[in-house]
């Protein structure tokens, strides 16, 4: 199923030509209207009319989160403030937020992209979407809301939290699709189990769009079997519209990134140099179809790689692999680069272990992983627990090279997350 079949299946040649045309327009627009970009181009001796091919973009500097913060509140705006109709901010843990403006056309375009994603994964009129992301300054819920309405889906704008009421809504209105964070979906599974409910029997769920936080393939499979539904990975960030920048098709082998709207590059996160095709690195995005606030070569800090092989679904827009981690989440123990997702992947494959874990970093050569045991596996025998612990240590060592300490803890003793989960506690810099 296609929402915009022509553009979704446009030949690679035509797609590249469209990208080049839109990139040229975007560069001309920001050169003329945004002093920050004019200065950046002048500083590199580049004029928009110098653009010959898509590769020429590498002559331009990156836009970083710090640049967006420095431009706060409206320094990077390419239209009059009166032409902007929506403001979103993306808050960092420290310092000023990033403000992103959208014109009416930008919002409509963002909704079109996400509508493609919904239809691509089988959602359409007749479906009921319970939107359990946060409505507000965060883009997630609102963008999905408008896209789903555009497709003709009944939207329940429940937002997150109040699990009892969420469950009532699901049952009373026959919710078929969820838009939710992975940690809340896991929490909900636990909640349903405690309430003696079986999602496959007691609910009408067919699929869930899970995003806003990284999660592993193992977690996806675990949730899919817990609920008996399909989970589709989505990728997005507030700076680039929010959800729907890239999305999985029914094949679930990587996420199609809508290349008519975004130009992607993959670079070495340390040096900023381009990676060879298919190699993992930091994703760099340039908006190609945005009026109010175009962003050139944005450093997403997300680690991924590009899949160039054609997809069976017929879409020509290339896919990116599941986000391997945030360049910022990566931590180093004994000189080894480690992502929390690697630890999660191992834990999810060990039976007897619950869904929650925590990584404690006390020194540069030792990490401790706290793991909750599952209530059902406890049989009173300390030897069985020691065996479980040693199994986890062995599996982790073969995945991340470093041999970690593992602490088994009681079920429910680690913090659970209804929002963004913070799994790594780094005490080394304090």
């Amino acid at each position: 199923m296609f929402w915009q079949k022509e553009i979704e299946t446009l030949s690679r040649d035509k797609l590249s030509a469209l990208q080049l045309e839109r990139l040229g327009r975007t560069l001309a627009r920001v050169y003329e209207r945004v002093p920050f970009y004019r200065k950046a181009m002048d500083g590199n001796g580049f004029r928009p009319e110098d653009l010959r091919g898509l590769k020429d973009i590498t002559a331009l500097p990156f836009t970083t989160r710090e640049d967006l913060r420095a431009g706060y509140p409206d320094g990077l705006l390419a239209v009059e403030r009166t032409e902007a109709v929506r403001l979103h901010t993306s808050s960092g843990t420290t310092g000023k937020p990033k403000a992103i403006f959208f014109s009416r056309r930008d919002l409509d375009q963002a909704a079109e992209l996400l509508a493609r994603c919904l239809v691509m994964t089988g959602t359409g009129p007749g479906d009921v979407l319970q939107n359990m992301m946060t409505y507000g300054l965060f883009t997630g819920a609102l963008m999905m809301h408008y896209a789903a309405e555009k497709v003709g889906i009944l939207v329940i704008p429940s937002g997150p939290g109040n699990t009892e009421r969420q469950l009532d809504l699901m049952r009373d209105f026959g919710t078929t699709v969820l838009h939710i964070t992975p940690s809340y979906l896991l929490y909900l599974a636990d909640y349903l189990a405690r309430a003696g409910l079986d999602p496959a029997r007691d609910l009408k769920l067919k699929r869930a769009y899970v995003g806003a936080e990284p999660y592993s393939e193992e977690t996806r499979r675990k949730i899919e079997s817990l609920y008996g539904i399909d989970i589709y990975n989505s990728y997005g960030l507030s700076e680039m519209n929010g959800p729907g920048v890239a999305f999985e098709c029914a094949g679930k082998q990587g996420m199609h990134l809508w290349e008519d709207n975004f130009l992607m590059e993959v670079v070495d996160p340390e040096t900023g140099r381009p990676r060879a095709e298919g190699e993992a690195g930091e994703l760099i995005l340039t908006t190609l179809n945005r009026e109010a606030m175009p962003i050139i070569r944005y450093r997403t800090r997300d680690i991924t790689s590009v899949i160039s092989e054609p997809c069976a679904c017929g879409r020509t827009h290339r896919r990116i692999t599941r986000i391997a981690g945030r360049a910022d989440d990566m931590f180093i123990v004994r000189g080894v680069n480690i992502f929390p997702q690697q630890v999660e992947r191992v834990l999810m494959a060990v039976s007897g272990v619950a869904q929650n874990y925590q990584i404690i970093l006390d020194s540069y050569d030792q990490m401790t992983v706290r793991v909750e045991i599952q209530r059902e596996v406890f049989d009173g025998h300390v030897e069985h627990l020691i065996r479980l612990k040693n199994l986890i240590i062995d599996r982790l060592r073969s995945e991340i090279v470093v041999r970690p300490e593992v602490e088994l803890v009681e079920p429910g003793s680690l913090p659970t997350f209804e929002g963004k989960g913070k799994r790594v506690i780094d005490r080394r810099t304090m």
Binding site: I373, R375, F378, D379, G380, H381, V382, E383, L385, I386, K389, E407, L408, V409, E410, P411, G412, S413
Partner: protein, 146 residues
Amino acid sequence: MTGVRQISVFASNRPGKIAAITGVLAEAGINIMGMNIASSGDFGVIKFLVNDLEKADRALREKGFTISLNEVLAIEMEDVPGGLHRIADLLYRKNINVEYSYGLPMKPHRNAILIIEVEDVEQAKLLLKNEPLRFLSEPEIQKERG
């Protein structure tokens, strides 16, 4: 022979953890007849022999503790030199491996009760069926305990 059940509680090795468990038992009015801790560094398993197992089970579950009930053997042991050896030797000859063990005093006879935990309690019972040992039931332990 009648089985005796003990309650095992999973516990992180942190100060106050035992007090948290015994507090729940005290509040529920449960008498602890025997206790044993199997520790493994950062976590341990605390085993209790109590006068009201169902009540203890309920009270601890309600407070969210991770618990398990399992059967152990309670054997009367003479309180004389060689008393424990007689039983240990018998277990050895029957090839029964003891995982955990602890003793309880007995009031009227100056004897003691040996609690032993084995991997396969049913098999152990079968092997010891015809041996000259006295196995105590839960009510008997309550009655005879010192």
